[in-house]
């Protein structure tokens, strides 16, 4: 089975966001970059599919040089090959990412392609389905369960207050949601081995700016709240405030 996974690199979720002096990007100082957490579910699913069906897992990332770290993390989890479509751009729109990924994927022609459902930086949740549409493949995003039967797959997709059962023909793109599996912790041996494993570099075939970020801002700070310290005896006053001041209950 030919399996591809697309990954990206994001600031760790514990990052306290500060805006850089340019005003349209975050201040990188002291920020730890990690593989996008949803991509870990995608990599784990890909490696499990390989373990069950045989084959090879190729990881692809579009972005700056530091994106290699995401590919290395996928190596540690069991991926076989990595391709970085290396861009020097700091901002790129979804169109650029999806277009470049589709280019490489077309050449690889995998049986199945996995993505994380969205990256936790810009939260666009556009790239998986956009890449699929460019390739003419069907796609399902926000998947919590996946079963492959020959050329078909059955996916469960999380929706508000429930789930959809989706029938899908392969090749297809699947966007992984938390719950799909439990990503493995790499052992020391695989961590060591990943260091020397090469990452193939490619040049972007296209870069567009259909949309661009002109400004980033922190949310306005809230005024100080009314905090009580007498435990359960403060409950009637809290309820009164919620009713009469906030008028919310």
């Amino acid at each position: 089975m030919k399996i591809a996974v697309c990954v990206s690199i994001v600031p760790d979720s514990t990052t306290k966001v500060k805006i850089a002096p340019t005003g349209n990007e975050i201040d990188d100082t002291g920020v730890t970059y990690i593989i996008n957490p949803y991509d870990e579910f995608a990599v784990e699913e890909a490696v499990q599919l390989k373990e069950m069906n045989g084959g090879e897992v190729t990881v692809i990332s579009y972005g700056q040089d530091k994106s290699k770290e995401a590919i290395k993390k996928a190596y540690q989890m069991g991926a076989d090959k990595g391709i970085l479509i290396k861009s020097s751009a700091k901002h790129f729109d979804s169109n650029t990412v999806a277009g470049n990924l589709a280019n490489v994927l077309k050449e690889l022609s995998p049986d199945i392609i996995l993505f994380g459902k969205q990256s936790i930086d810009f939260d666009g949740s556009i790239v998986p389905n956009m890449t699929a549409e460019i390739l003419g493949y069907p796609s399902v995003n926000v998947v919590t369960k996946l079963e492959i039967n020959g050329n078909e797959a059955l996916a469960e997709r999380e929706i508000e207050g429930g789930k959809e059962v989706v029938k899908i023909s392969l090749p297809a793109i699947i966007g992984a949601q938390k719950g799909l599996n439990n990503p493995r912790y790499p052992n020391l041996k695989s961590i060591m081995a990943s260091k020397s494993k090469p990452v193939e570099e490619r040049q972007p075939a296209q870069e567009s700016n259909n949309t661009e970020i002109t400004e980033m801002k922190l949310p306005e700070a809230k005024g100080k709240g009314k905090i009580f310290t007498n435990g359960a005896s403060d409950v009637p006053e809290l309820v009164r405030l919620l009713r009469e001041e906030a008028k919310i209950i």
Partner: protein, 333 residues
């Protein structure tokens, strides 16, 4: 300026409240951009429901029968296909000169918007929370789960916007609406549009989802174990709220991941968010700090959650939660 098309989402053949928000947005944009807007519904909604969209200012309501669309799939177990919806919207918009498409940022809207962008060649921006800069094609959306906001400039003539539910309040602008029936067979739908389709929709038994709830009661590690979450559920019960959870308790397996609020869970903005035994890790605060009112209950007075709280009680959740549930029950009865 290009004409605006609003896709109105339905559930069980009735329009969702997010559809009314999308319509109100369409009405607002049409005014601001000196353009006009129309609505497209792909559903089995009856004419009474379709006609009711006039309440939100929709003069022209275009309707494609879902049964008719599904009949083109050749699948006996089809409920609907996201891909076929995307094709209907794209083909209709292109053929009739609509250059702006408004879609609710629901799970359905998020699934179809990227495909529509490719099919139409329009650009797409998701999760919009502010459209006041639309005349200069600038929109605002949260990033990093709400840790910051991003102003996005659209550089193409035509575009698709998904709007975050619960942000743009629906308001009535009554007008007389005309229903236009469209034949699915004339919308260039092909077999490729059914390479994936939904065969079943499973509803979690009577549970309100955090993404849609107006009030959320969330529990964290302070509850000390899954067996104590009935305290959170009971308070949620009397408030008519959804139950949420912190990442720590989801990772510990105490609660299902669908309840997780935060940067690697759901970003929510309800009217009221009650955080019980949640300290307020950065990634959790990111996901809920845009709630209108936040109530925090935590035994640690220095917990970061109190910094974003409008109201709070420092104390034991095991005493405060039952007292709060009782007090609210008293006033509701």
């Amino acid at each position: 300026m290009d004409k605006i098309l609003v896709f109105a989402e339905t559930k069980n053949n009735e329009f969702k409240s997010s559809a009314f928000e999308a319509l109100t947005t369409g009405y607002f944009l049409a005014g601001k951009l000196k353009s006009e807007f129309a609505v497209l519904s792909v559903s089995n909604a009856d004419d009474t429901h379709l006609k009711s969209l006039g309440k939100f200012g929709a003069k022209d309501v275009f309707h494609v029968s879902l049964d008719e669309l599904n009949s083109m799939s050749g699948k006996s177990d089809i409920k609907y296909s996201h891909s076929a919806f995307a094709s209907v919207i794209s083909n209709f918009a292109k053929a009739n000169g609509y250059g702006i498409i408004i879609i609710s940022g629901t799970s359905f809207g998020k699934e179809i918007a990227p495909s529509i962008a490719v099919k139409t060649g329009f650009s797409v921006v998701t999760d919009i929370v502010d459209l006041s800069g639309i005349e200069s094609k600038t929109v605002r959306r949260p990033s990093y789960a709400g840790k910051c906001y991003t102003q996005v400039k659209i550089n193409t003539d035509n575009f698709i916007l998904t709007i975050r539910p619960n942000v743009f309040k629906a308001s009535e602008n009554p007008t007389e609406s005309v229903i236009h029936k469209l034949e699915a067979g004339k919308l260039n739908i092909s077999g490729n549009d059914f390479k994936s389709y939904v065969s079943e929709v499973v509803v979690s038994s009577g549970k309100l989802d955090v993404a849609e709830a107006d009030i959320i009661v969330s529990g964290g590690r302070g509850l000390r174990g899954p067996e104590h979450f009935h305290l959170v559920e009971e308070l949620a019960g009397v408030l008519g709220a959804a139950t949420g959870a912190s990442r720590a308790v989801v990772d510990a397996g105490w609660r299902p991941h669908g309840e997780q609020v935060g940067q690697t869970g759901k970003t929510v903005s309800p009217s009221l968010y009650v955080a019980c035994g949640i300290s307020g890790a950065i990634q959790h605060l990111a996901g809920m700090s845009s709630s209108k009112y936040i109530v925090a209950i935590n035994k640690d007075k220095d917990a970061p959650i109190f910094q974003v709280a409008d109201y709070g009680i420092v104390g034991d959740v095991f005493e405060i939660l039952p007292a709060l549930t009782n007090e609210i029950m008293k006033i509701k009865s």
